[in-house]
């Protein structure tokens, strides 16, 4: 359980980091928080010859509110997201998701960009990003900068649109303007903070009459990548989210999932969990108190 030998380089600029990636190609790996990569290296599932440490590149770190979005730098720690009043206020689903992410010891190191590029199918921040259709900024020495929507970023388990010489530099989280926005995130795992057997999340905006004005919803751990259901969300618009509506949407979503079986849970149990969790989050977010609507 010791990592294989590697060369360690700590670049002083993003351009230098990109140059190292271009130079070493698949032999190099970026490390930021290392909370997913280091376990993989300890188990020898990853054996990079060169480790490029981007932890101290200040330009990759920070939380900035812009028009209609909040941007988080790739190496912003999960703990910093958790403690950001700006982010929690503007993109409440991120705060709701973080409640389920690892433990304080891992959130102190783990980064938002790391969660994205590791792309565990049950990871919480990727699910939140997919539901909200966040935009991921990527950069490479030869390809320059590009932006990929979350819907095109998470391809399969531990497989994303990130090229082998690219670095995720930041994530734009869309802000839902106006009153009546509520969200909920729930998951079931063996131990709080462990990988979810199934997770469900939604963000809902209610009209003053209590009907749904806007919705977004999805499931984690139920396929090789997180799942969002924009058509099911759209079908909720104009409706009141009662138990029947929530159950109907949850069952439709689960019927499109392809959960696997492992020692913790078989596919049938995961479907059961996902339906219960999605129904629950829809009811919780869709039944926001009237006081919240006026806020």
């Amino acid at each position: 359980m010791k990592a294989a030998p590697f060369d360690y380089i700590r670049p002083v600029t993003v351009a230098h980091a990109l140059e190292l990636l271009a130079q070493h190609g698949p032999e190099a790996k970026l490390i930021a928080g290392g909370q997913s990569l280091v376990p993989m290296m300890a188990m020898r599932l990853a054996r990079p010859a060169v480790l490029v440490d981007v932890n101290r590149l200040d330009s990759l770190r920070g939380i900035a509110a812009g028009p209609g979005t909040v941007t988080t730098g790739a190496t912003t720690r999960q703990r910093d997201l958790e403690e950001s009043a700006v982010l929690r206020g503007a993109v409440p689903l991120v705060g709701a998701a973080l409640r389920w992410v690892g433990h304080v010891q891992t959130r102190n190191r783990g980064t938002v960009g790391g969660s994205f590029v590791h792309a565990d199918p049950s990871a919480e921040l990727p699910l939140a990003a997919l539901i909200l259709d966040a935009r991921i900024h990527l950069s490479s020495q030869d390809g320059g900068a590009r932006v990929v929507p979350a819907s095109g970023f998470f391809i399969a388990a531990m497989y994303t649109a990130t090229g082998e010489t690219e670095c995720v530099t930041g994530i734009d989280w869309p802000v839902w303007e106006g009153p009546g926005v509520a969200c909920a995130f729930e998951e079931t795992s063996i131990r709080h903070g462990d990988f979810a057997m199934a997770s469900a999340a939604c963000q809902i905006q209610l009209a003053p009459d209590g009907t749904c004005r806007r919705a977004a919803l999805g499931l984690g751990g139920m396929a090789s990548a997180p799942l969002a259901f924009p058509d099911l969300a759209e079908a909720l618009v104009g409706r009141r989210i009662d138990a029947a509506a929530a159950r109907e949407v949850a069952e439709a979503a689960v019927s499109r999932s392809e959960p696997g079986t492992d020692l913790q849970a078989d596919a049938a149990y995961r479907r059961h969990l996902a339906a219960v969790l999605l129904t629950r989050v829809l009811l919780r977010a869709g039944a926001a108190p009237v006081t919240a609507l006026a806020a």
């Binding site: 359980m1 060369d7 700590r10 290296m41 440490d53 891992t106």
Partner: protein, 166 residues
Amino acid sequence: MSSTFPAPALATVEITVNGRAYRRAVEPRTSLVDFLRETLGLTGTHVGCEHGVCGACSVLLDGDPVRSCLIFAVQADGLSVTTVEGLAPERGKLSALQDAFCESHAMQCGYCTPGMLIACQDLLAHNPQPDEAAIRDAIGGNLCRCTGYQQIVDAVKLAAGAPAHG
């Protein structure tokens, strides 16, 4: 036949541990916990799973709890670490939290204890009067294979009620 493996390249790191600065040459793949235990001989921090699940190796890095098996020592270059050896206010004394662990018998085999103390020390630093849910959340990342969790929760409650002396 002589080995064909090249000698590993070493990196020099300067890490402050419990207030004392250490300068050492390490292999880049040396984890922070191996650096603490094997390079510095500070064996109070325990190694459990070595892949970030058990929490036994928890230390404070620049004041925040982290898992020292998930950080390479080279990454901690220039940073400050507090281990269980650094929790006591002075030689021969224990912190209020350590006293409470003794008083409540919050350990059986003792393997998880250093990590538990680090996690609980951080909890009390941010939340001096934690309720039971907050205590359970704070130790959620630390496994006790003896399952002595109740006494650990009791110890934190006791420490929170006790006058601080460290």
